[in-house]
């Protein structure tokens, strides 16, 4: 685990950018994996198509971002890690994704809540990154923002249907939002890595994304007849969370499943 990934206070723009792109890649990778777990488990066939499609978009983003993170890292260390090296050969504490994306698919409402809150965040993020001074990152974000706009609309549509639908669906949707909400504070917390990429015009400083994200989410909740949950943010050990490699217990199982086959055949090509 390198200092750059954790977010060293001395991060220069290059090391910060490598760590930053890795965070974005890990977010997309883990969000995609959670959706992919639902293959053939959707409440109706249309959702099997939609959830797989969203998983596929996110996996595509993850592959571009991890490949780019690997090449940025190579410039610093001289050692290249491919997208697969980064996905399959890092341990839990080396993943820098936010905690929100690793929350489990407890029921369809939990999946929808996670996807709404995350897609709305990714939309604001990629909208800004499309104008990044880093041409590669701007290119990836410019393509991804169009995909994420659909994900957000899809999750918003279901939030409204479930919130407005029946008593049961409304209760489930409210419970799911309450479960996911504490993990959203982390999306908007800054640290030296975020600050360095923002200062260099390469990335976005998370606190700046919050007002637009809140406006979007509040609008959806209002239409769904749901209240914004009043629950405090998750407090990690010494303020550490997903960005610093301290994850949920469920995340270890996710990685164990995802990495097992790849790790069982060291050096094999697939």
């Amino acid at each position: 685990m390198s200092g750059q990934e954790r977010g060293s206070a001395h991060a220069g723009p290059d090391t910060a950018l490598a760590a930053y792109v890795l965070r974005l890649g890990d977010d997309a990778l883990v969000a995609s994996h959670r959706l992919a777990e639902l293959a053939a488990r959707g409440p109706q066939l249309e959702e099997d198509v939609a959830l797989a499609n969203t998983a596929l978009d996110l996996l595509g983003q993850a592959r571009s971002l991890l490949t780019y993170a690997g090449s940025l890292e190579e410039r610093l260390t001289g050692v290249l890690r491919t997208e697969d090296d980064l996905a399959f050969l890092r341990g839990e504490d080396q993943f820098a994704n936010c905690l929100l994306v690793e929350l489990p698919n407890t029921d369809f409402a939990h999946t929808v809540a996670r996807q709404l809150l995350f897609s709305a965040y990714q939309f604001e993020l990629y909208s800004r990154l499309a104008g990044s001074a880093d041409a590669t990152l701007a290119g990836i974000a410019g393509k991804a923002v169009k995909e994420v706009a659909y994900h957000r609309d899809h999750a918003a549509g279901w939030t409204v249907r479930l919130g407005d639908g029946t008593e049961e669906s409304s209760e489930r949707m409210a419970a799911a939002l309450e479960a996911a909400w504490p993990s959203t504070a982390e999306l908007f917390a800054s640290d030296p890595v975020f600050a360095a990429v923002a200062a260099a015009g390469l990335g976005a400083d998370p606190p700046e994304l919050r007002p637009a994200w809140e406006a979007c989410v509040d609008g959806v909740l209002a239409e769904a007849g749901l209240a914004r949950p009043e629950v405090p943010p998750v407090t990690g050990p010494a303020g550490r969370g997903g960005r610093q490699g301290v994850h949920t217990e469920a995340f270890g199982y996710l990685l164990a499943e995802m990495q097992h086959l790849h790790r069982s055949h060291p050096g094999a090509l697939w």
């Binding site: 053939a40 066939l45 797989a52 592959r63 639908g165 669906s169 086959l261 055949h265």
Partner: protein
């Protein structure tokens, strides 16, 4: 099942019956609003529903490996493939609906065990190579069966099959490519690939159904231009296709009777274990119960979601009526 009026071969239907037969003889397409015999409608509903059910049950054995796919590229390909299968299910249920039956009814029949799906999906996917073997052999057999269906006499089914076959041929290539990579990989990967082909070869031959001498539904379907070739003809076509492909893969097909027959211009091959086929068909395969329970669970767990969507739609309509008033 809701029938759209009576269409028996009773005397009052004689002119329609004659017209229908003339159109079949001229190899024309029958469309949803056209008169058709009850039997023709029932046969198509049974076949299209079984095909649709096979697509959605088939998502399970491959979906089983999505979360463990060993590279991100393979993971993306596999998610896309399973998504295609859900899409095929949608086209096919829609094609069945043009015959006057609702998707919900067909799903109920599947869940109650009153309609079938392809028996091949009652075998387990126990290794990553099985994703390749399903693509190469199972999708390969499916294509062999389905390409002639693009010319099926019922228009909506034929048109759905054109699109499905394009995607299936892509699926078969990905399966071949996956096995090709394993066969040229480490010793463990090569063993994994061979073991998988050993397990899927015979079940894939069984996919064409029992020998012509024992096939129950074939005769009428052939007369109606729903089916164009017999089970045995299609099985032969499939074997002729996969033998050179197995050679290219460097993998062995587990059939000691496989040999080129110059006189016939075809490969001779062994007889599948039809007792095993009947047992799996009857529900005694390794995964019959698991597959159907998985389907029922997903459907039951989704009930409150579908109900909420209906309730919201009804409320929205009521609100817009109030607003308009």
């Amino acid at each position: 099942m809701t029938d759209r009026g009576t269409a028996t071969a009773a005397p009052e239907n004689a002119p329609e019956q004659r017209r229908f037969e003339e159109r079949i003889a001229a190899d024309e397409r029958i469309e949803p609003r056209d008169w058709m015999p009850d039997d023709y409608r029932r046969t198509l509903i049974r076949q299209i529903a079984q095909h649709a059910h096979s697509e959605i049950i088939g998502m399970q054995p491959e979906g089983n490996w999505i979360t463990r796919a060993p590279s991100l590229r393979r993971k993306a390909v596999l998610i896309a493939k399973v998504q295609d299968e859900a899409g095929h299910g949608l086209y096919l249920y829609s094609a069945a609906e043009t015959l006057g039956v609702a998707r919900e009814e067909l799903l109920d029949l599947l869940h109650q065990g009153r309609q079938r799906y392809s028996s091949i999906f009652n075998y387990p996917t126990v290794s990553w190579a099985d994703v390749g073997a399903i693509g190469w052999l199972v999708d390969g057999a499916a294509i062999t069966n389905q390409v002639p269906l693009c010319r099926c006499s019922y228009g909506p089914y034929a048109r759905a099959m054109v699109r499905i076959c394009k995607e299936e041929s892509f699926h078969q290539r990905q399966g071949f490519d996956l096995l090709y990579t394993l066969a040229r990989g480490t010793e463990a990967q090569r063993r994994m690939a061979q073991d998988s082909v050993d397990r899927w070869y015979w079940p894939s031959l069984m996919m064409f159904g029992p020998p012509d001498s024992e096939s129950t539904h074939s005769e009428k379907s052939m007369a109606w231009n729903i089916k164009r070739f017999s089970n045995d003809e299609l099985r032969q076509r499939f074997v002729d296709m996969i033998v050179p492909q197995a050679e290219a893969l460097g993998l062995t097909l587990p059939d000691p009777d496989l040999a080129w027959n110059a006189e016939r211009g075809h490969y001779d091959f062994g007889t599948p274990d039809w007792d095993e086929f009947m047992q799996v068909l009857k529900g005694n395969g390794p995964c019959n119960k698991q597959r159907i329970e998985h389907r029922r669970d997903a459907h039951r767990e989704g009930a409150w979601v579908r109900e909420a969507a209906r309730a919201h739609a009804a409320k929205s309509r009521a609100r817009s009526r109030t607003a308009a008033a």
